[in-house]
Amino acid sequence: MYASGVDPARTRRWALALAGALGACAPSPPPPLPHAPVPEPTDPLRPADRRGPIPPKARVADYALTARYDEELHQIDGRARITWRNHGPAPVDRIPFHLYMNGFRAPDTAWMQQARGKHRGQELDAEHPWGYVDVRTAERVGGDGGSDGEPARISLRHAEADEPSLMTVWLDQPVPPGEAVELELAFITQLPRVFARTGFHERYVMAGQWFPKPGVLMPDGTWRAHPFTLYSEFFADFGHYDVELDLPGDLVVGATGIRVSEAHEGSRQRLRYRAQMVHDFAWTAGPDLVEAWDDYEGIRIRALVPRDHADTAHVHLRAQRAALASMEARFGPYPWSTITLVEPPEGAEGAMGMEYPTLYTTSPVKPLPPLLQGLGFSERMSGQFTTIHEFGHQYFQGLLASDEFSQPWLDEGLNTFSNGLVYVDWYGAQEDGDPWLATVAGHPLRLSEAMRLAQGRHGFLEPVDQAADRFSPLVGSYSGSTYQKTAATLMTLRRLVGAERFDEAMHRYATRFAFEHPTGADLEATFIETLGSSVTLGHGEDGQPIALRLSEYFDQALRSEVVLDFRIHALTNRPMLHPEAGWRRDEHDALVGGEPPPPPPDGGWPAQDLEGIVVVYRRGEFVIPVEVEVELSDGTRERVLWDGRGRHRVLRWPGRRVVRATLDPDRKLVLEAQRHDDTRYAEDERPPRSTPEALGRLAEASALALGGAFGP
């Protein structure tokens, strides 16, 4: 029922549309860039009382790296001294290494076989297609016998696997549990022209995954070292990094950690960085990057943007602040003292949208054309969503370092969900907790709606919880499933069980597993621990409680392809039975009566002579309780909770006439990707707003507008 008179929502929409149109005519100037450079922190980590505890066994692999970049050859001449600690239960006599850059070495690597030279719309460059890392030597450092006070070096056998993104180094003697080994590897890294995260474009460099990294030894003594495939990202242990970069002197440089020294020697610069309790080290450099700064609660924020985009740096900084505020409150403290965001220049789009510890790359802010703004289009996504998303990875998987190969949903999916919460915290207070991401002439597209749409048609073709290499680019479900369906799964759960309890569970998970390698089982166990194994959502028609069983929910949402889809199958009002009509037997067993059924009165049956019926149909295989809201002819609304276990349910309102029925009226089931069949009116009722009529009128207005523009 839509009340007559002023509709506040409609008024708001018109106001929003008008504001958008006027805003387009008189755009407000960007706020001035923040203050002068924020000084380099002196410690890579925030003070202990601000960053939270670090588990004693979290620190496994320390790196001392040196790298000299030759920009003519696009090569890095590097050495890695790695101190690796055996926290496993048994002696270790060999160490597997990831050589991620070798994924780009030839067309038949595991990565290339899946990617076929394409990644997120970018293509392999014909002139500089290949990247590789060539480990020249591997030595163990330590023991007696060295000269000039230097420790002895024992050359070790090393060999790539058949899949070149993996290598094994055989130790000359096993490392006992609790002991450490120090290895030194010399390597050459050839960068490709960037099309998949790492590489160069002209003089710009994004050096990610540029050095050999040991796999991860699990507590059960097995190694996690995986081939680099199209959808797998990275997995490594935490440790301290001490890195010396030798780069052309005119490049502006950003890197993981803090810069502890710099020296210019002729045309070169030598920069030294230190990072602590991180699991990777990346650096970027470009000749035409400008810096912008901010500070958040003692965290130095540094933005590197192309000079011609300097006027949009404030958008990234603002989004960065919002992300920090939201994620610190929800998931615990950000432990590092710095964060650097980088917008790669035009031509280096392949480097955009990637996360590394305390450093990430974002994408440009692209304002809508004035014409569209004038027509009331606006959005909160361009550039700033990438910033929020890539920063979010500082938590999921920078801090909660899940295995991105085995369970990619734990970082991409949880992060995408948390990005939505950043928007909720940033804008949601004024927008019913479901902020808009875009508007068209004042009509919003909200976060939860975007989550439904983003699952796409392919998001349900493969289970969420599977290893990265099981996703096929031919199926095309990776993004819809891993990112979006995971986010929708969590948002649905949050809306079903209540934000407060859900947020408590997520906070517990995030703080408990910081600086660890949590699994999906850890997450689910935390939810069950916090919420219980089942959560009562309400009571059914029979008064019995209806509960959501968490394990069943996660099984369906994460480990199956079942689709969540309900429909109002039928909505009708039929005359009540009239038992006084017809023949019936009396006490003498004689047939009596024979009255004809009463004819419908003029104007149809009154409501009290009708039985309103709504048939709810579970079209998808996903079993979950769902609420149905029914509007009756007397204007009242009633809600019924159905457990969803049968294929359909018939709901009856004897003596009442049903006007409309809506499934999931509070829009809790974000996992239900489409809702067009969730509302239905009685046959003799006309909806106050009809989609065909609305689109017809829009088509008419468009034809009038264009006909006028191309008219006489």
């Binding site: 809702r675 989609t691 065909p692 088509a699 008419e700 009038l704 006028g708 191309f710």
Partner: protein, 269 residues
């Protein structure tokens, strides 16, 4: 202000007011043209309504709180809805454009003051082939002009480039009016491309023709943008008569522009 300038201003005002007088003297033409526009646009809308209704069946209710989502969801589930919408709008636009080519001799003749059915009918029929041919020549010249403007201004910021291209487009529109008026009312060579070329030359030499013509064209574009905005903002609600009335305004601006060209040509004659 010099006397010459004053005289030029006076002449320009006289032309503009004369054009308006010609429009106001032909209310039947204005309303009839509007009716034709409404029919074409209504057809497009009805087509969309029927297609979407068939696709949605009983699930046709539009959630007023989720309109953008509902439309995207519909287009995703039923790509035919998007295709039907696009084709209906495109079809309506093309039909309008063709209708204006065919009807322009009649429009010009009426604005030139002809009232008798015989005079109007003879021009409406006899001049159509020539107007079609001249419109084609004009289209070629306009394409060259647009290309030249875009090439010359390609180093400008996108907004400046769009403004330059838009002004060139509007100037060309006034030139097309001049060409058609020359053919219909002044027996200019009906088939030769030079006639179309002279339309450009004429308006470029006559600011009193060009400036009001471009301003009225801008007004038409602004009105069209307003129609679109109203259509989008009122999606699912609002009166359909607001865009329709705005279309009447847009049409009036266009006819006024043609009236100015007719007035100018008549003054020369």
């Amino acid at each position: 202000m010099s006397a010459a300038m004053h005289a030029a201003m006076h002449a320009a005002m006289r032309t503009v007011v004369g054009g308006l007088r010609r429009l106001l003297g032909a209310p039947g033409l204005w309303l009839g043209s509007w009716g034709l526009m409404l029919v074409i646009a209504w057809s497009a809308g009805a087509h969309v309504e029927v297609v979407v209704s068939a696709l949605l069946g009983p699930f046709d209710a539009l959630d007023p709180d989720a309109m953008v989502f509902a439309v995207i969801d519909l287009m995703r589930l039923h790509p035919a809805a998007g295709a039907g919408f696009s084709m209906a709008v495109l079809g309506g636009t093309v039909t309008s454009a063709l209708a204006w080519v065919v009807l322009s001799p009649l429009v010009i003749a009426r604005l030139a003051g002809h009232r008798s059915a015989e005079a109007l009918g003879s021009r409406a029929l006899a001049k159509v082939p020539a107007v079609v041919v001249q419109s084609l020549w004009h289209g070629l010249l306009r394409a060259v002009l647009m290309l030249a403007v875009v090439m010359a201004a390609r180093s400008l910021p996108p907004l400046a480039l769009a403004i330059a291209a838009g002004l060139a487009w509007l100037c060309a529109g006034v030139a097309l009016d001049a060409t058609r008026v020359a053919v219909v009312e002044h027996d200019a060579a009906p088939w030769h491309p030079r006639t179309a070329w002279r339309g450009f030359v004429r308006v470029l030499r006559r600011p009193r023709l060009l400036i009001p013509g471009v301003l009225l064209g801008l007004g038409q574009l602004a009105t069209s943008a307003t129609i679109l905005w109203v259509g989008l903002a009122g999606f699912g609600g609002g009166s359909p008569w607001i865009p329709r009335i705005l279309a009447l305004v847009s049409l009036g601006l266009g006819l006024w522009r043609i009236g100015i060209v007719v007035e100018d040509a008549a003054a020369d004659a």
